[in-house]
């Protein structure tokens, strides 16, 4: 088992972490989720039939684990907001995730892209991360997300458009609002 783990870890770990980290933007959560990915992988390794490549199989597990996490967060938020009737206030609770060091030292544009990735839908974000941050092919991205090639292209186009829209808006506002927000983190 250790040998299987060693091989998977050495080949894919940093990319897997990269994907999860850019999705959830929280190191502790990303560490927990990647753990969960390995648990699922080690558990089902022997049932992996090789219909897809090992790489896309692994990333599709990472994608499921991450989406499950978002769903559980949504359920939690919903329960809390119903229970306390904080639905309105809940929406303006500031995002207090700290900026990873690697991002914090980047220029303003990179930091803004990082920030506005959150404005994309989960699917758009997944496609943008896989395609451009991890340099996966359209085919691989489609397999991981269980999308058709054309759906990947559409989602990719919409994601880029969305990101561009927010960056433009931010630029028109002079970028000050966002800089203050980032500075507070």
């Amino acid at each position: 088992m250790k040998t299987v783990f060693d091989r998977l870890y050495d080949t894919y770990h940093q990319d897997l972490f990269q994907f999860i980290m850019y999705m959830v933007k929280d190191r502790t959560i990303a560490e927990d989720l990647i753990q969960e990915v390995y648990i699922k992988v080690l558990k089902s390794y022997y049932t992996f039939k090789g219909e897809s490549s090992e790489k896309t199989w692994l990333f599709s597990i990472a994608r499921h684990v991450t989406y499950d996490y978002f769903r559980s967060q949504q359920r939690r938020k919903k329960r809390i907001s119903q229970f306390f009737d904080w639905s309105e206030k809940g929406e303006i609770i500031p995002d207090n995730k700290s900026l990873p060091e690697e991002i914090a030292i980047q220029n303003d544009e990179i930091r803004r892209v990082y920030h506005y990735l959150d404005k994309c839908t989960k699917d758009q974000r997944s496609v943008l991360i896989l395609r451009y941050i991890l340099s996966f092919s359209i085919q691989e991205t489609a397999e991981i997300l269980n999308f058709s090639i054309s759906k990947v292209k559409t989602t990719q186009h919409r994601g880029l458009k969305n990101l561009r829209k927010y960056l433009l808006e931010d630029e028109e506002k002079g970028g000050t609002e966002n800089e203050v927000k980032e500075g507070k983190r």
Binding site: K2, T3, Y9, Y38, K43, Y46, E102, I103
Partner: protein, 385 residues
């Protein structure tokens, strides 16, 4: 910042491509350890959770009735306003019910997890971390027939002397001290160069007259020190007298025998125990012997009756070709079988075991497609974590 007005998506793509790598700073080994552990735990937990989910609707109804009936009682039935509010506020009741169920489920899960953590017991130790040390002990079985080897994984640095001198503490920590450890009160000093261990025994040390205890005393020393390459034990007492070792007579030293060839079986479903074999007893016979039970001594077989192998040797690798008709499954019975086969192979000096024609990729934590290294130790206990 450059103006993005009029620019197409290319610039955004370039920015995305320039995003930095976010490195994971966790230790690889830590991730593996955690994942492998959780993997085992969730197997057990999910089984129990599924049982819970079958009863969830019943519990939900019971909880709803409980809340609806009990709360008005507590807050005085004469308060009609409050009563009607509780009765009508079904969403509130459902919410509370949902919370309560979540709590029940969490408690159920936590209790299960704790219980499993307490009783969960690996039969073999496969890896030793760089910051860990391993020492060995042994306790006799109830009837004094067999010796149960124990491996202590100590997560601390220190020389072997220090660690062996803490053996009574370690045994106590895991409630093994009640067993009749034959070197009670002894202290140890290991000379790595000369490959000897000086064993200082209490002045009143005695093995009695029986040959069984003397035999087990000799074996205990072997289990404890042979894995460290020690070849001789030298006995000392505080007053410098020689030790009376019962049937062995008065002895100043004793050779440490190498590990005996053995067939590993399960003692009281708790420990893997070596059942010694003669030096010329062949490995295929020793494996076959693992199918035999000995209920009088609480020993159960580790290879189920339906399992058959053709056994060959490939230098330091033992090859077991599966010839049985039964379909092997990924369950504890077969996982223990592999643990026991690996230990048996180790006692015969093999370094790895390969399973051929087994038609299952994984059993427990073992991937059967490749040779499996023999374990570092058996019946492991972790100290200091």
């Amino acid at each position: 910042m450059k103006s993005r007005k009029g620019n197409d998506e290319k610039e955004i793509i370039q920015l995305l491509q320039q995003m930095p790598r976010l490195e994971d700073r966790q230790e690889k080994y830590q991730i593996y350890k955690q994942s492998a552990l959780e993997d085992n735990m969730t197997d057990l937990a999910s089984h129990d959770r599924s049982k819970f989910s079958r009863f969830a609707p019943v519990l939900a109804t019971a909880a709803a009735i409980f809340i609806i009936v009990l709360i008005p009682f507590v807050y005085n039935l004469s308060d009609s306003h409050f009563t009607s509010e509780v009765a009508n506020d079904s969403s509130g009741a459902m919410e509370a019910q949902d919370e309560q169920l979540t709590m029940i489920e969490d408690e159920n899960y936590d209790a299960l997890f704790t219980a499993e953590a307490d009783k969960s017991h690996a039969y073999v130790l496969h890896t030793v971390n760089d910051d860990e040390n391993v020492i060995f002990g042994a306790i006799p079985d109830e009837q004094g027939q067999y010796l149960i080897p124990i491996t202590f994984v100590v997560s601390a640095k220190g020389n072997l002397d220090e660690l062996y001198n803490k053996l009574p503490e370690y045994m106590e920590e895991h409630e093994l001290a009640d067993n009749d450890f034959l070197l009670q009160g002894a202290t140890y000093s290991i000379d790595d160069e000369k490959k000897i261990v000086k064993v200082q025994l209490p002045q009143d040390f005695s093995l009695g007259e029986g040959s069984v205890r003397a035999y087990q005393f000799e074996k205990t020393l072997s289990v404890m020190f042979a894995p460290h390459g020690i070849t001789k034990a030298v006995f000392e007492t505080a007053d410098g007298n020689t030790i009376d070792l019962g049937p062995f007579g008065k002895m100043e030293e004793m050779p440490i025998l190498p590990e005996e060839r053995a067939s590993y079986k399960l003692y009281k479903e708790r420990y893997l125990v070596p059942v010694p074999q003669q030096p010329d007893f062949p490995i295929d016979e020793a494996i076959l012997e693992m199918k035999e039970e000995d209920t009088a001594f609480h020993l159960t077989n580790t290879i189920p009756e339906e399992i058959n192998f053709r056994i060959t040797e490939d230098e330091k690798e033992l090859v077991l070709e599966y010839t049985g008709k039964a379909i092997l499954e990924n369950n504890e019975k077969y996982s223990v079988m592999i643990d026991a086969i690996l230990m048996t192979a180790k006692s015969y000096g093999f370094e790895s075991v390969r399973f051929d024609n087994i038609k299952i990729v994984r059993i427990g934590n073992y991937i059967l497609e490749q040779p499996i290294k023999v374990p570092e130790g058996v019946n492991p206990y972790t100290i200091g974590k």
